[in-house]
């Protein structure tokens, strides 16, 4: 199918301004937040109504043309990398909040609404939307649903999955479907759980019902210093063991705090080998009680210094460094590669030691920031993309770290998604039978494989090629064993 035929089909029902196909217009859509992968889309469609979305899907499925949905394009795994032989379906014009119901504590929004906007709209009612990915000022709810986005408060408040009550949208054939809703426990299979985090491969979402929570009365954060990274890791486990579920529990190592401190002056202890940010929220009684318990645990775990935020301004300042970690690292290196593995908390020390060894092996620096409470690591490998050897070493470094995450019982991606970036590592995480079942699930929704093809779920051929390559390099442990 060539571009002219697709454009002609779309012109039947879309206004001219909603179809982009000249290179200067489609260029801005060539990548998402993972800029290492670029591809010019054949056509970009910018529908403005739900009916237009439905007709685009019907037209594309009739023509057997691939469709890739896109929100704000902030994703970090190439999940919205466009098709060179299909339509990039931008949901950017779906920016309306349709309904806020303070008594029922729900917000019904279109998918192009930005994450942070939901909490702004809910604030007058003392409510907010809990998931807060670091890109929350730009990323959209539709994208959050596709990726099952997290944030720094997941341990206590969950992921997107735990905070979405229902979605409406269309199958690739343009058939309307509604999953979940305000009534709990819809009968039948939980297709809502299956769809959230499916990287836009099962359906196109046009409306999302979100759960709003009461805004905690107050929040305070402890900044604790440790003279040893492993001690900081052990302190994380001790906090949980004490029966505390902190609202946020984040860790940064010394290279990360140094990079950040030059950038935002958050007041971090630059002598510390690692710092923990440990937050409590709730009523003032709860917070006072919990902060006292957390301090006692951290003290016993060997914290060398502790500061508790005295007011909201100081709390936000402590967090500002953590939230600015990626851009701060971006300033000290021409490029950085962000990983997203999750590991059981008890293996934290071991994995950090492994990463330090990889820094030596590949002669690349790697500051670490991570969601320590839920074991989600974001090691940032610093490199220069203009140096092909560095790029190559970076990729090898990242692959080894992700494989280590799988080996210790974790996963290759905690919140950024597989997309195109980690599709090879899916072959390490899953065996051939699981991958076959994923493909069968995809087939149930999208028999011709038109919706976001080539993402998230690798083909068997791709895996055997990757497995062969990795085994040749002697890197993949026990590739022949089934992983049950």
């Amino acid at each position: 199918m060539n571009s002219r035929d697709v454009v002609a089909a779309l012109r039947e029902f879309l206004p001219e301004r909603a179809i982009l196909h000249a290179e200067e217009d489609t260029r801005p859509y060539e990548c998402d937040g993972l800029t290492a992968y670029r591809q010019l889309p054949m056509v970009v469609a910018l529908p403005e109504t739900v009916e237009q979305v439905q007709r685009i899907l019907k037209a594309c499925s009739a023509l057997k043309v691939p469709v890739v949905p896109r929100g704000a394009g902030t994703g970090l795994s190439g999940g919205a990398l466009p098709p060179d032989d299909g339509v990039l379906l931008s949901m950017a014009k779906f920016m309306r909040a349709l309904r806020i119901d303070p008594l029922a504590r729900v917000a019904v929004v279109q998918p192009g609404v930005r994450n942070a906007v939901v909490s702004e709209l809910a604030a007058p009612y003392g409510l907010y939307y809990a998931p807060d990915p670091s890109s929350q000022i730009a990323c959209t709810i539709g994208g959050n649903v596709s990726e099952n986005s997290g944030g720094v408060h997941c341990l206590k408040y969950g992921l997107t999955l735990h905070n979405v009550l229902g979605v409406r949208g269309f199958t690739i054939d343009g058939e309307p479907i509604e999953l979940g809703g305000e009534a709990p426990d819809a009968p039948g299979y939980d297709l809502l759980a299956l769809t959230i985090g499916s990287e836009g491969m099962l359906m196109v979402v046009t409306e999302v019902t979100l759960k709003l929570l009461p805004k905690p009365q107050c929040a305070r954060v402890i900044m604790a210093s440790f003279d040893d990274v492993e001690k900081a890791g052990a302190a994380v486990a001790d906090v949980i063991a004490a029966g505390i579920v902190p609202a946020g529990l984040e860790m940064m190592d010394r290279p990360a705090t140094h990079a950040v401190e030059q950038f935002v002056h958050a007041g971090y202890d630059l002598q510390a080998a690692a710092i923990l940010l440990c937050e409590s929220d709730g009523t003032s009684e709860e917070v006072d009680d919990e902060i006292a318990r957390m301090k006692a645990v951290l003290e016993r775990a060997g914290a060398t210094r502790m500061t508790v935020s005295r007011d909201e301004a100081e709390r936000l300042r402590f967090w500002s460094g953590r939230k600015a970690a990626f851009p701060a690292v971006g300033r000290i290196s021409p490029d950085y590669y962000c990983m997203d593995g999750t590991i059981p908390r008890k293996r934290l020390g071991e994995v950090l030691t492994f990463i330090a060894a990889m820094e030596q092996k590949y002669q690349l620096r790697c500051p670490n920031v991570f969601h320590a409470g839920d074991g989600n690591l974001h090691p940032l490998i610093l490199f220069d993309a203009n140096d092909t050897d560095q790029l190559h070493r970076t990729e090898q470094f990242a692959a080894e770290v992700l494989e280590k995450c799988v080996e210790v019982g974790g996963t290759i991606t905690g919140e950024h998604g597989v997309g195109v970036e980690k599709i090879n590592q899916m072959c390490v995480q899953f065996g051939a039978r699981e991958l076959a079942l994923f493909r069968a699930v995809k087939h149930a929704f999208d028999p011709h494989g038109l919706l976001n093809p080539g993402k998230a779920i690798p083909t068997l051929a791709r895996c055997s090629e990757y497995g062969g390559m990795r085994v040749h390099g002697g890197k993949l442990p026990h590739a022949e064993l089934p992983r049950f």
């Binding site: 008594l103 029922a104 504590r105 409510l127 990726e147 099952n148 341990l155 969950g158 992921l159 199958t171 479907i177 999953l179 809703g181 305000e182 009534a183 709990p184 426990d185 009968p187 039948g188 299979y189 939980d190 297709l191 759980a193 299956l194 009461p214 805004k215 486990a237 001790d238 949980i240 063991a241 029966g243 579920v245 009523t283 009684e285 709860e286 006072d288 009680d289 999750t342 059981p344 908390r345 008890k346 839920d374 074991g375 996963t411 290759i412 991606t413 905690g414 597989v418 980690k422 039978r433 699981e434 079942l437 994923f438 699930v441 087939h443 149930a444 929704f445 998230a456 992983r483 049950f484």
Partner: protein, 347 residues
Amino acid sequence: MIESLQERIRDAASRRSALRLRGGGSKDFYGNAPRGEILDTRGHAGIVDYEPTELVVTARCGTPLSELENLLERNRQCLPFEPPHFAASATLGGCVAAGLSGPRRASAGALRDFVLGVKLIDGRGEALSFGGQVMKNVAGYDVSRLIAGSLGTLGLIAEVSLKLAPTPPEEITLQLEAPQARALELMNRWAGQPLPVSATAWHGDELMVRLSGAEPAVRAAAAAIGGESIDNAFWEGVREHADGFFAGDEPLWRLSLPSTSPPLALEGRQLIEWNGGLRWLKSKMPAHAVRETLHRAKGYATLFRAADKSAGCFAPPGPVLERLQRQLKSAFDPAGIFNPGRLHAER
């Protein structure tokens, strides 16, 4: 043990012979009438991994639910969704397959929210592993949560990993007098405020509310809410359907609807939970009348316990969802051997 389960399943698949997956049989009454040769899962039992500092437990399907909960209790942890047992014989596998949550659901989340991973034997007898033991995991489709509540129709849940929570240090139950409409409003108002409410229920013009959390927070909230203190055991009676409300021969309906829906005009008695999102109905009303009322309220009516289930246990899905569910079923269970008809009507 897992091999012998796989063997049984392969054999049944080759003969296209129905298997009825069953643990302790505590939920035999739930869903459409089970049929097929019983495949007892209780031999595949035991805790596989539990480290309290990880807030995760992994156990095999045949593990008695009470044994698991006792172990967690000794470590001051719990299953946050407070699952009903319905009999001492309840197993973990049956609990996850039924997907039912208890009184804490409105504040803590549903069973499926706490499923982190499953090991599953599909309809080909293949042992498959999805998800894992970590809190955040977006690799591949979320099959482990799809399995929760699938009533054993997609596969045999051999092993499951669940996220846990610390047991709240303090818990009290308060009782206030309130007619239904007022009670619904109060429950929803409280849920929108930063109060440690962990369960609500209404029946017979009495509103019950449970507060759980740190002692000072519970004390402060109790003073704000008022009412008189009653035994926390009330919630177990509601969860296990041992409360007097559930006695009697009338069919028991489980009505799920938006929590702020006004009182439903239905014959019979009602007990409300989950801030109004779950309403139990004891009534002899015809099934179509109950289902029509719930359809108008944007909810679902499930015939939970009844001698006659000819009206179907679950509200039927629309044609598109019906097709998607059928195709998913055949992706997992191509020969259609697992619990046929238990969740969806057979075609």
